[in-house]
């Protein structure tokens, strides 16, 4: 019902904008079909693509607060739908918006094609202190900054409290304890402890980084060179660990984000779900934690390899980037810096669990830390798990051919699940595959 109402509102707004566009020809041609209504006339307009569920509100807030620039927003689809359109616009040399919402791991892919603008010269210093170092690193390539962080995905371990209580286990603090607990539940005839999904390679990448792997390294002085290290000991250990869990039947091997997996989560087939801070919002939307399952979920910090030196990692998260096709990059950068950075928008985002904000004004808001998350039965998940994880996050350098890497990883994880290779062998094959692709694409692989 709610979604239908939103759709109706969007449709009405779209129709309304059409009328407005007909009556005024003041704006540029690109700005003629915005989803939002621009009320201020004779002001330069910056076009923007994005798909946050509350973008409408965010854009309206920005437009209300600014008299020198107005944002014209279009939702061209979520994730790869948008990337495919942007990619086509890059190839065509025309058709891209001025500002675009992208996930942090995509930035190098577009940056290397010269599609994004380094926004460091356009007011970076003024907002630098508003975000953590790790957040900036995720949107940077070398010293250049190609995006303004919006939301992140600090990881934690979501678990079913009822299952943990039934089998008398406490949340494992290390991965060794995780395996012991899994064995204990299995021996007692309990459900699977977790899931190794071939279609979520980004999780495994994060877990490898947690163990100390650095999959990709680049040196700004040598943009044609890239370090690819996918089969170091840490990467192998993590794949061997998860391959072992799967082989022993301790975790499932179901693809995630599928109806099959979600129905399993609802049925209590998985005791834990290794995921990020946006998961409660996603799971609630997918129908988890309702009816009989209300309040059965809780969250604990991600298990560690070495509890003396804990490492926090991230899965997902997005940013606003300025595209090379923007006619006024300075103005576009102003929008990128200002959108979703005001208190009102951020508060709406985190209270409705749409985003885990990276803006420190939100992160340091006591109300944010104290928020009692309904999905976790009132547990103060931000204070207990996600905030410390976000603060300790150091950032990652992503690959400029991220899509290929993730597809190749999916293939190898599938082989691990099949049992045709061990985790170590899969890591070696992945290294060979991705290094070959990098060379084909003209990189010097180190």
């Amino acid at each position: 019902m709610k979604r239908r109402r939103i759709l109706a509102t969007v449709a009405m707004l779209a129709a309304g904008t059409g009328l407005v566009a007909c009556s005024s020809d003041e704006g540029g041609s690109d700005a003629s079909n915005c989803t939002n209504t621009i009320t201020k006339q004779n002001v330069p307009v910056v076009t923007m693509w994005g798909w946050y569920p509350n973008t409408q509100l965010v854009v309206d807030n920005f437009n209300k607060q600014h008299d020198d620039v107005q944002v014209c927003w279009t939702n061209v689809g979520q994730g790869s739908d948008e990337y495919d359109k942007f990619q086509t616009a890059i190839s065509a040399g025309t058709g891209a918006p001025d500002v675009i919402m992208v996930e942090a791991d995509r930035i190098p892919t577009f940056q290397i094609q010269g599609a994004l603008v380094d926004i460091k010269q356009y007011g970076y210093d003024a907002v630098k202190a508003n975000y953590s170092e790790g957040a900036w690193k995720d949107v940077s390539v070398g010293d250049a900054v190609y995006g303004v962080p919006v939301d992140g995905g600090p990881m934690g371990m979501i678990y079913r409290k009822d299952i943990f209580d039934k089998y008398k286990i406490t949340p494992p603090k290390t991965w060794a304890e995780y395996e012991q607990a899994a064995q204990k539940v299995k021996d007692a005839g309990g459900p699977l402890f977790g899931d190794l999904g071939a279609n979520v390679p980004a999780v495994l990448m994060a877990l490898q980084i947690q163990k100390g792997a650095t999959p990709f390294t680049s040196d700004p002085a040598q943009p044609n060179a890239i370090g690819v290290k996918l089969n170091d000991q840490a990467s192998k250990d993590v794949l061997d660990y998860w391959g072992g869990l799967a082989k022993k039947g301790l975790v499932g091997t179901q693809d995630q984000f599928t109806p099959e997996y979600i129905s399993g989560v609802i049925n209590g087939n998985y005791a834990t779900y290794i995921s990020a801070a946006w998961a409660p919002g996603y799971l609630t939307g997918a129908g988890v934690g309702k009816g009989q399952d209300t309040g059965k979920f809780a969250v604990a910090p991600l298990p560690q390899w070495d509890p003396a030196n804990p490492v926090q990692v991230n899965w997902g998260g997005s940013a606003f980037s300025v595209t090379k096709q923007a006619k006024k990059p300075e103005l576009a950068a102003k929008v990128a810096y200002g959108l979703y950075a005001d208190k009102e928008s951020l508060t709406d985002g985190w209270t409705n669990q749409i985003i885990f904000p990276l803006n420190l004004t939100a992160l340091k808001d006591p109300a944010f830390a104290d928020l009692k998350v309904a999905f976790f039965n009132g547990q103060q998940a931000n204070k207990e798990v996600y905030l410390p994880a976000a603060e300790a996050y150091k950032g990652v350098a992503y690959a400029p051919f991220g899509q290929y890497y993730l597809d190749a990883m999916t293939k190898q994880v599938s082989e691990i699940i099949k049992g045709s290779v061990t985790g170590s062998q899969a890591a070696d094959r992945l290294q060979e595959d991705v290094a070959k692709y990098a060379k084909e694409q003209g990189f010097t692989v180190q």
Binding site: D84, Q113, N199, D255, E260, G264, D407, K411
Partner: protein, 313 residues
């Protein structure tokens, strides 16, 4: 004016030839005019894109170093690329199993429905044809749910016998999972084509056969099947081309089983991945053309071996 006609009068023959030539020219023009609309569409939407794709396939675009002309390097790469080769090998294997299976089912059903003429037969004909009327995407989604072990019927059915349900979306069984979807969707369509061909057979032939003492089985194998051989070959060619270009079903089921169905599962899916998710239009075009070549070879080989029986090409 009069002088002109007078002049013309003594030379009737070349004039007649001229007129005939004019008529010819006009007929030619008319012909082209009639073909025109089709010709324009044919050129604009088939020849031009094909030409452009061929042009694209001769270049190589790198993230570092930009675009360069490489002639047939992309093709050399495709035919040594394990992803393309394993995909091609999969669709060939799949064709070898799925096509005979579908044809046998379609033929058996058509023969049965041809010899039974009750109301029930008409109803069955419609029901068997129905899956073809369901869009491929919907069909694939539907089967994806039916295969689900969490909420599909398989778990319950196998549970009755105390067995665990097979996972048709796992690496080991995906071949059969897809085989089932494809057969379900297409066997009814082929059945209709064969049934229509059977309806065109002169019934006096059956009468003559019966008078000579032929049984039903003999009529079916000695008269009906040989007479509808052209229709059989037609659907064989259709299904061969369709199966080698396998795309929709695995692409949809990939949303449920990305681990089992990789991005390079079939050559068409691989071309799609290269072009649209890796922005490598050049190599994607080359794969498409390489696949086109494969299809051409397979169809040509098939037609060559059945050349005595065909009558439609």
């Amino acid at each position: 004016m009069t002088s002109l006609t007078e002049k013309r009068a003594p030379r009737p023959q070349p004039e007649a030839r001229k007129i005939r030539g004019k008529v010819h020219l006009r007929e030619h023009l008319m012909g082209w005019l009639f073909v025109g609309p089709f010709g324009v569409v044919f050129l604009a939407f088939l020849i031009a894109p094909l030409g452009y794709a061929l042009y694209l396939s001769l270049f190589q675009k790198k993230l570092i170093g930009g675009t360069s002309f490489v002639l047939f390097d992309n093709y050399v790469k495709a035919f040594t690329d394990p992803s393309f080769l394993s995909g091609a090998w999969f669709v060939i294997r799949f064709s070898l199993v799925s096509i005979p299976l579908q044809i046998v089912i379609a033929l058996a059903l058509a023969l049965i429905l041809d010899s039974v003429t009750t109301l029930f037969a008409r109803f069955s004909r419609l029901m068997i044809f129905l899956p073809y009327a369901i869009p491929t995407v919907i069909g694939a989604v539907m089967w994806g749910f039916l295969y689900s072990r969490g909420f599909g019927p398989l778990t319950d059915i196998f549970g009755l016998f105390g067995a665990t349900a097979p996972d048709f979306l796992s690496s080991d069984l995906i071949f059969y999972g897809l085989l089932n979807v494809v057969t379900w969707q297409w066997a009814g369509y082929y059945m209709i084509i064969l049934y229509a061909a059977l309806q065109g057979v002169d019934p006096t032939l059956y009468e003559a056969a019966r008078m000579d003492g032929a049984g039903r089985w003999q009529i079916a194998t000695r008269i009906k099947i040989p007479l509808i051989a052209p229709a059989l070959i037609l659907i064989l060619v259709f299904s061969l081309i369709g199966t080698l270009q396998f795309f929709n079903e695995p692409q949809i089921l990939r949303y449920l089983a990305a681990g089992t169905i990789g991005a390079d599962f079939t050559p068409n899916m691989y071309a799609y991945q290269q072009a649209f998710s890796l922005a490598n239009f050049n190599y994607g075009s080359a794969i498409s053309f390489a696949l086109g070549g494969l299809v051409f070879i397979c169809v040509y080989a098939f037609l060559f071996f059945t050349r005595k029986r065909r009558s439609f090409l």
